[in-house]
């Protein structure tokens, strides 16, 4: 019983518990909670499959099944496909972040965190950072698998850095959108179901697998303003000599991608934080 008799608040190893709002405390709590999210990845098989096997299957299906019938003038289908696959993977972050958030919120552990003197924002940023690492892992698998299959992105060092920065920004934007989605819908199954209904068509119309200019009028109009199109077009313009056109955003894909990302973040971050705090007193 000596264990509990110890006056914990002043015991050795205590770090400023009174300052749950301080930036240092926020950084520390975020790091701890990110660690928690990361440890879950290899222990939840379906999450690991989402970022490893699923991309591989998409690549194989489109490269060797559908790709055999698709001809894009002036470029090998491999070079055309991989930027699309990367953009699609980015957009799927909405679904995986949403599902993970809804699952997390439905588990009692969030209540425990909330009842601890933990920085509230850190609970969400820990979740976001965990998702981010998971998505980076997925992206690395896409790229490594692509290169193993003979994809040779035509990219300069500067272009590569630009691409990495754009992808990171896009990931944060889609992850935050997913976190908000998960907080609003709450049921992991519903998030998954609804997510696929909304996201899957958007990723298919985004010039991912076939060029936008050949589409029918309606899907073409959607595709020209689909945020995923901007992501795919940016990636493609940085890894090939192909440049998109057809709408304002497709003429300037990188700017459009930055714009969409900032817009998503500006909308989703405050609403998600408010939503998370709404049920609580503080």
């Amino acid at each position: 019983m000596t264990t509990l008799a110890a006056p914990a608040p002043t015991s050795s190893g205590s770090a400023g518990r009174r300052s749950a709002g301080s930036p240092l405390r926020f950084a520390r709590d975020t790091r701890l909670l990110t660690g928690r999210s990361l440890r879950a990845i290899p222990r939840v098989p379906e999450r690991l499959l989402d970022v490893t096997v699923q991309p591989v299957i998409f690549i194989l299906l489109f490269l060797y099944v559908f790709g055999s019938a698709i001809h894009v003038p002036g470029i090998s289908y491999k070079s055309y496909l991989f930027p699309g696959i990367i953009g699609q993977g980015l957009a799927f972050a909405v679904i995986s972040a949403g599902t993970a958030t809804a699952t997390d919120m439905s588990e009692g552990v969030i209540d425990r965190f909330r009842s601890l003197p933990v920085n509230r924002l850190a609970i969400i940023t820990g979740e976001v950072m965990g998702q981010f690492c998971e998505q980076v892992l997925g992206m690395c698998i896409y790229i490594a698998f692509g290169i193993a299959l003979g994809w040779r992105p035509d990219v300069t060092v500067a272009g590569g850095l630009e691409l990495a920065g754009l992808l990171a920004l896009g990931m944060f934007a889609f992850i935050w959108a997913g976190v908000l989605f998960g907080l609003l819908i709450r049921s992991p199954d519903a998030v998954q179901g609804l997510g696929f209904i909304v996201i899957l068509p958007l990723t298919f119309m985004a010039g991912t697998f076939v060029p936008i200019h050949g589409m029918d009028a309606v899907p073409r109009a959607v595709a020209e303003w689909d945020p995923v199109s901007a992501f795919v077009a940016s990636t493609r313009s940085l890894t090939t000599h192909m440049h998109s056109s057809g709408s304002l955003q497709l003429d300037h894909p990188q700017l459009a991608m930055i714009g969409w990302s900032l817009l998503l973040l500006a909308i989703c971050v405050p609403i998600a934080l408010r939503r998370f705090n709404r049920t609580t007193a503080a």
């Binding site: 509990l4 006056p7 190893g13």
Partner: protein, 320 residues
């Protein structure tokens, strides 16, 4: 003020049109155990979640050790530890990883956190399963880790929401004995339960909740006293003995009978003395009986007597 651990005045919470907690007043003295007793839907969990700052009240106020649960929520969180109905643990971490993380979030550094986790695992008899993922633990093991997590830092006020719901009798005993130890060390405890037996076994004071309101409060003994007298139940060995018992006892005592259970109940205001008189009479007459026992009313009886309806009616009304 300091000798009152928890105080609530007119605490109210609505979910849509449903009033979960209806102007509840509550007081828990330091170092005592108070049980909120009631069926599902009585407002127990909502009440403790408001006290633990997890949800904001729609009306009324509450203080933990004098600190307002809304305005001083951060301070309240340092004083109170809530262990909920469902394990508040990360299923994908091991028992030990969970405890280490909680200790770190409390402010301990890595080494102190690991030491604290190991001490708690030892105390809750969890060393054997400390490296197993929480999702793979049995209900009883998980509940023990959960209780341990609630004690990472010795809280001033411990709140246990239905600590033994769904546990097998053996795990329930483990939880009860740990709770008793903590109380002996001076922890203030507010617990909610649907088990009348549990309130009786652990609490100094019981608050009976029905539809978000207090319907009765007092010591377990006081509550039971409101319901009626003790009685002596005599169970006859067979039908013939039953008739003989009735003939013997009705002249000398105030009795009620239940043919179905072959039981004659004798009003026993003097408890043990009455028990002795009934036993002597039965044994003198040589009537074969299976059992003679003094019965005190259960808290189940209390619920029916004090609310005028059974515990299930409240649960059904709340749609649970």
């Amino acid at each position: 003020m300091t000798d009152i651990a928890i105080r609530a005045e007119g605490l109210t919470k609505r979910f849509g049109g449903f009033v979960a907690v209806d102007a509840l007043d509550l007081q828990v003295q330091d170092g005592t155990v108070v049980a909120l007793l009631g069926p599902n839907g009585a407002g127990k969990t909502t009440t403790v979640r408001m006290l633990a700052t997890l949800i904001a009240p729609d009306g009324g106020r509450a203080w933990v050790e004098g600190h307002d649960v809304v305005r001083e929520a951060a301070r309240v969180r340092e004083l109170i530890s809530l262990t909920g109905q469902f394990a508040a643990l990360d299923p994908h971490l091991t028992a030990r990883e969970n405890l280490v993380l909680m200790a770190q979030l409390r402010g301990d550094n890595g080494r102190a956190a690991r030491r604290r986790a190991d001490e708690l695992l030892e105390r809750f008899d969890g060393v054997d399963f400390r490296d197993r993922l929480v999702k793979n633990l049995s209900g009883g093991q998980r509940r023990r880790v959960d209780l341990a997590a609630g004690l990472i830092e010795r809280p001033h006020v411990l709140v246990l929401d239905e600590p033994t719901t769904g546990l097998d009798p053996r795990s329930r005993q483990v939880v009860w004995s740990t709770v008793r130890e903590l109380v002996a060390e001076g922890v203030t405890l507010l617990l909610t339960t649907q088990y009348l037996e549990e309130a009786d076994a652990l609490a100094d004071r019981v608050v009976l909740l029905d539809r978000g309101r207090e319907v009765a409060a007092g010591t377990p003994a006081q509550l039971k006293a409101q319901v009626g007298d003790q009685r002596v139940d005599v169970v006859a060995a067979d039908g013939e003995a039953m008739r003989a018992l009735e003939a013997l006892l009705w002249e000398r005592f105030e009795i009620t009978t239940s043919e179905e259970q072959r039981t004659v109940s004798v009003s026993a205001p003097e408890e043990a003395a009455d028990l002795a008189r009934v036993a002597a009479a039965v044994s003198e007459a040589g009537i074969p009986v299976d059992e003679i026992a003094l019965r005190r009313p259960t808290l189940d009886d209390a619920f029916l007597a004090l609310t005028g309806h059974s515990a299930t009616a409240t649960a059904e009304e709340a749609g649970v």
